[in-house]
């Protein structure tokens, strides 16, 4: 995915940061155990958030163990321990996301990049097949997103809402799938819908962030971008993008508020309430007039 969903370390306590890192390291290890040592390169903050959310929804008491880091054996790391499928689900999502990103890149890149992606495809494809065997629903959701995105991009009159739909639907399905694979604390008939709505708006937010971030690149390369398509001028990007970003984030928060609070609630709130708005500001600030003038001085 895109790496926008990460904690704001400056506002986490030492304990919270240690917990966050333990999930990040545990997911890295899970990728190594289930796929390959090279699959650890697919580790992302977005999928760490997914693992964090699942762990927070379960009834399991927090538990960690210490072991040497495989990437840097001189370092000892703390790893979150779980008997649930939280890490396995997040690992499958990591692998499938990277695989379909690779497929998209093969279609969109120049000759040399395409050659490299073609070399990687069989290896990552093997991991993706393994992920599909374990969690067909997760793999299918990412696959569908990739296909839908291509359909959306071929529509010259595509609206911003429609353009965000594939990513939003993918995360909606992936979050709703948690209810099927993991025993959620105090789960009831509404839990699946809440998770689905939560995922939808988070996915929408991620897509809009990515589209805003890539505006310059897409405008110069002629790549698909809903804001370029809507003829929004570069200077008007913050004004046009901030309201839907705010709205998507507020809906994400409202949905999250309906879930039972879990052990990682403070970290999740840090991400949604502090880190995401900060990320919005960081992405949109590059389009604000005045900054370039300051730089040139």
């Amino acid at each position: 995915m895109f790496g926008y969903i990460r904690a704001d370390r400056s506002q986490l306590s030492e304990r919270e940061f240690a917990d966050y890192k333990s999930v990040y390291c545990a997911l890295c290890r899970q990728l190594g155990v289930e796929y390959s040592v090279f699959a650890r390169l697919m580790l992302s903050y977005d999928c760490t958030f997914y693992a964090l959310l699942i762990l927070s929804l379960t009834d399991e008491p927090p538990s960690c163990y210490t072991a040497r880091c495989r990437v840097n054996p001189l370092k000892k790391c703390s790893y979150a321990r779980t008997s649930t499928e939280a890490l396995s689900l997040a690992a499958a999502l990591s692998v499938s996301s990277v695989y379909y990103k690779l497929i998209d890149n093969i279609a969109d890149s120049g000759f040399f990049s395409r050659l490299l992606y073609r070399l990687l495809k069989p290896v990552v494809g093997r991991w993706n097949r393994r992920a599909a065997e374990k969690y067909p629903d997760i793999e299918q959701a990412v696959h569908r997103m990739s296909d839908d995105q291509r359909t959306v991009e071929s529509d010259p009159g595509c609206s911003v809402d429609r353009a965000a739909e594939p990513t939003a639907m993918m995360l909606s399905t992936v979050c709703a799938a948690v209810e099927r694979h993991v025993a959620i604390r105090h789960s009831n008939e509404n839990t699946r819908r809440i998770l689905s709505t939560f995922g939808y708006f988070l996915g929408r937010w991620i897509y809009l962030m990515d589209a805003a971030d890539d505006y310059d690149k897409d405008q110069s390369s002629g790549g698909f971008n809903p804001f370029v398509l809507s003829h929004i001028e570069r200077d008007a990007i913050p004004e046009a993008v901030l309201p839907p970003l705010n709205h998507a984030l507020s809906e994400t928060l409202l949905s999250y508020g309906l879930l039972e609070k879990g052990r990682y609630d403070s970290i999740i709130m840090n991400i949604l309430c502090a880190a995401c708005p900060k990320a919005q500001t960081a992405v949109l600030s590059k389009y604000q007039t005045g900054e370039e003038d300051e730089k040139s001085l």
């Binding site: 809402d161 809440i194 709505t197 839907p244 809906e251 309430c273």
Partner: protein, 203 residues
């Protein structure tokens, strides 16, 4: 039924003031007005009902030594309406049948499209998560009939979400009300008036 103290997130030894504060925070957070155009409006309403029942049960238990709850569902909901040209569309939206609602509205001739038509289109897109289109419909409904409280509330609510700044998350760890910061102060004040039990202390 869940333990009412658990629902309010307080211990059984909590004081009346602590219970009242917990109830106020939760009522502010889950009030249906915060979720009017959300796909989870019905879930929030259920949650609010559970909180009201828990609060009533605790109050009754402390007052009368365990008499039954007298919950009357007194919090206000914004979904109450009396005059509508599209009762079936509203029912479809309420029950999540958005495609059916859309079909009915699309069948209305362009010259017959009233402010309520635009408002309901906005509701459909909003429930679907397509907030940009929803915003345009709400805006149109409001412009056509600015005196209608329902249309004004939907438009203002959407505006509040679109303009919200960083919520005060650092004060909202465990049981806080950060999502409420998304709404305007006006809305919070408004919903508090509507939902908190009249007068007196908790018990």
């Amino acid at each position: 039924m869940k333990n009412p103290y658990e629902v309010l997130g307080v211990s059984e030894t909590a004081t009346d003031d602590e219970i009242k504060t917990a109830y106020r925070n939760l009522a502010k957070k889950y009030h249906p007005d915060n979720y009017t155009d959300s796909p989870l409006a019905d879930v929030a309403e259920e949650k609010m009902k559970e909180i009201n029942e828990a609060y009533d049960t605790i109050c009754d238990t402390r007052k009368n030594g365990g008499a039954g709850s007298s919950y009357q569902g007194s919090y206000g909901t914004s979904s109450s309406y009396t005059h509508t040209a599209y009762p079936e569309v509203r029912e479809y939206i309420r029950t999540g049948r958005l495609d059916d609602a859309m079909e009915v509205l699309n069948g209305v001739a362009e010259n017959m499209r009233t402010a309520e038509w635009y408002f309901l289109m906005g509701m459909i897109f909003s429930r679907r998560g397509w907030s940009e289109q929803a915003y345009q419909y709400f805006q149109r409904a409001y412009q056509m009939d600015p005196g209608n409280a329902e249309f004004a509330a939907a438009f203002n609510h959407m505006n509040a979400r679109r303009t919200y700044t960083t919520p005060g998350y650092d004060t909202a760890y465990g049981g806080g009300c950060s999502t409420c910061d998304l709404c305007t102060g006006l809305m919070c004040a408004d919903c508090l008036c509507g939902c908190l039990r009249g007068g007196g202390g908790c018990c």
